[in-house]
Symmetry: C2
Subunit: 116 residues, 2 copies
């Protein structure tokens, strides 16, 4: 069986928002750094979300009205919690369902072996 340390970056492209929305639908509220660590932990380091990818993505989801934010002071440091809006909960389910459907299609496509 095949095992790799980390996936090639093209593979992960397009899945970032789905992952973030799913985590937020399971955890009510999370902050950016927490999301990066959670994904690293849950995937055994196979998927590592970089901050340069995550923060702009969170900002755009907020601008779309999918996420709302709450800023909390931790000592002298600021922590920005994100949570799904009502609209965001719908978007989250749609994205996860779409990805599940996509995985079925890809599984079918990559399993076929006609001529050879």
């Amino acid at each position: 069986m095949y095992l790799c340390l980390m996936y090639s970056s093209e593979l992960i492209k397009g899945t970032l928002k789905t992952i973030v929305l799913k985590l937020l639908s399971d955890n009510q509220k999370m902050y950016g750094y927490e999301i990066t660590q959670k994904v690293k932990e849950l995937t055994g380091d196979k998927i590592q979300i970089t901050e340069g990818a995550l923060y702009p993505s969170l900002h755009s989801l907020e601008a779309e009205g999918i996420l709302s934010t709450e800023t909390v002071n931790i000592g002298k440091r600021v922590r920005k919690y994100y949570s799904l809006t009502k609209k965001g909960k719908g978007t989250s389910h749609e994205k996860v369902s779409e990805f599940a459907d996509f995985m079925n299609t890809m599984k079918f496509l990559l399993d076929i072996r006609p001529q050879v």
Copy 2:
């Protein structure tokens, strides 16, 4: 159960080369247009590879030594067949295996429901 007509374009990003390499590992040789039609057919129009994406991708795979080409004249028209080189056969298996591994990881990641 969720069903969609076509996947959002971000989702498909990064999977094009994997799909092409898998088709070529099952069919020995195919030409560009044939690949677009085959994918459309096999996925019930859910994945539609555009020629603007496919041809540059085929060219770069050829430049990397993963594909080799053979030009055939069909009447007055030209058809360019692509097939996997020896190196390409290895790459094809790797890409498909990597994607299968990635799907397992994503399935796990998107199924988790702890706190809620």
